[in-house]
Amino acid sequence: MQPCSREMQAMNSLLSPTQQIPLQDLQPNGNSGTHQAQIHNPQFDPTSSHDDFLDQMLSTLPSCPWSDLKSPWDPPKSDETPPSNHDNNVGFHYDEILASKLRQHQINGGGGGTTAAMKMMMQQQMMLPGRLIAAAGGGGLTMPLHNDIVDGSSFKSPNQQGGEGSVQALYNGFGAGSLHGTNNQSPNQPQHFHHPQGGNMQTQSFGATAGTVMNQSQASGSTTGGAPAQLKQRVRARRGQATDPHSIAERLRRERIAERMKALQELVPNANKTDKASMLDEIIDYVKFLQLQVLSMSRLGGAAAVAPLVADMPSEGGDCVQTTAGGGGSLQRNSNGNQPSANNDSLTVTEHQVAKLMEEDMGSAMQYLQGKGLCLMPISLATAISTATCHSRNPMINKGSSSNHPLLQSNGDGPSSPSMSVLTVQSATMGNGGLDGSAKDAASVSKP
């Protein structure tokens, strides 16, 4: 019975809490004791495990008024050793067509559902039991069964996870089951069909689905001759409950996507948007923001990794270059994630620009820098300040140059930057002579 228990568990896990209740009644222990006799049909041997599962399910179903029904299909034969014979027994001639469909869904010898059977079911309004019974009547429905059941039960609320195209197969078996159900007393019947008392909740949904299934099975299985054409009504599929495999798969996909969107909503802050499109935009912005945050912090990490080497720089005679990045500040300032990258680029551009200007005219270079809120300062002072302000929370803007090495420091955002923003880069274009005069420039440090 282990497969059965697994299936049951899977079923229960798939079902919503509200809908688990009736199915929990189907637990092996929940046997209402109404039907034991015909549950175990030796003819189900080939798929005994699943049959047992189904039998257990059905055994818990209370007696249904189907006994009042007169089945137009009296089981013609009693030998049903192979599951496929069930179809023959009930005189379902849809079998070939439907069986092929069922087998596509891994259903062994699925009971042929007939539109007539569906209609009959509809008329009798015995959807739930018929459904379960049909599943059993399908004769050894495999795992997809529980999917089907779940799908059926989930039809009530289309947003729930649904089974796949096997639903139709299930309903095909449904029809078979319904037909079977009319003959409870027949020993040849694989199961008893009884209305579960708790199944009323699903009556409507099943009615709709049955209708839709009937609709489709009519379209697909109309050629079978053996099925009696006693049920003539045609029920239109309810909106959102179509059983077309494509639409089912489509709906399943949509539900999965909705699920994942919900999960993402929890991760992303500011997720109060109800619109999916705006939610996606929010997600995109958040991912960009996070990536830039990691970028800036790694730049900062680069600075931290470099910091131990700062002390060596002055000894190198001004050839040293010091680079630290102002990740935190720029990060805070640019919560949208746009500027940090621009910050990086602008620094590079600024450096080159300043280098160019310095070659021409020191004054213009200084003006350019001041226009950007930067200044020049000797490297030794800059390094001293950088090490000193490593732990400070005030970003400093200072720019200095000493012997050809301009120090460019960009301002990290003031209030929130926990780290210093210092970028010291030696411009490659800087000529040696161009900065001699600047070495005498007084260091001016401006704080934001």
Binding site: E250, R253, R254, R256, I257, R260, M261, A263, L264, L267, V268, K276, A277, L280, D281, I283, I284, Y286, V287, K288, L290, Q291, Q293, V294, L295, M297, S298, R299, L300, G301, G302, A304, A305, V306, P308, L309, D312, M313, E316, D319, C320, V321, Q322, T323, A325, G327, G328, T348, E351, C390, H391, P418, S419, V425, Q426, S427, A428
Partner: protein, 162 residues
């Protein structure tokens, strides 16, 4: 995240932390900054970023599509650096593989019935390896990717504070 994550030796946080610290110390032990060009600076910075990404991807191993894509990118890049020829080869192979897989999936341009093509494409560019994912998997990968990125940021914040 809660501190218990740090206590758990196998959580994503602890795995990432150990790897990243290892990579950082390795970088620090590398040649000191003797170069003077800005490119060298940024190269070093880039190396650190790569180390961060690599350690993140490695701590996720190959359980996720995006981590596999990222690892692949890193590996191909390193191969390219070592041997330009092999890099070209691997690059071509990779492109071929990616194109082939995307053609097989035929999901990049599909409406997917939900109508989020533009946003989905943008997301695909953001998430590594996202070009070959349909919307469903893409959202899944995005969720995990966001989780990992936030972990990374949280672990980086002590660096920022000095």
């Amino acid at each position: 995240m809660n501190n218990p994550h740090h206590l758990n030796p196998t959580s994503l946080k602890s795995r990432f932390t150990t790897r990243f610290l290892r990579a950082l110390t390795k970088i620090r032990a590398q040649k000191p900054i003797s170069s003077s060009s800005p490119t060298e600076i940024f190269r070093r910075y880039r190396r650190i970023k790569v180390a961060a990404d690599k350690s993140m991807a490695y701590s996720v191993r190959s359980r996720r599509i995006w981590s596999r894509a990222m690892l692949w990118k890193l590996r191909s890049r390193s191969y390219r650096r070592q041997d330009p020829c092999s890099g070209r080869r691997s690059g071509k192979t990779n492109q071929a593989i990616m194109k082939k897989s995307s053609n097989e999936n035929t999901t990049t341009r599909r409406e997917d019935g939900v109508g989020f093509v533009e946003e989905a494409d943008e997301l695909r560019q953001l998430v590594p390896g996202g070009e070959t994912m349909n919307l469903c998997n893409l959202l899944d990968e995005t969720a995990h990717y966001i989780k990992c990125l936030t972990t990374q940021v949280q672990l980086f914040s002590p660096i920022g504070k000095g």
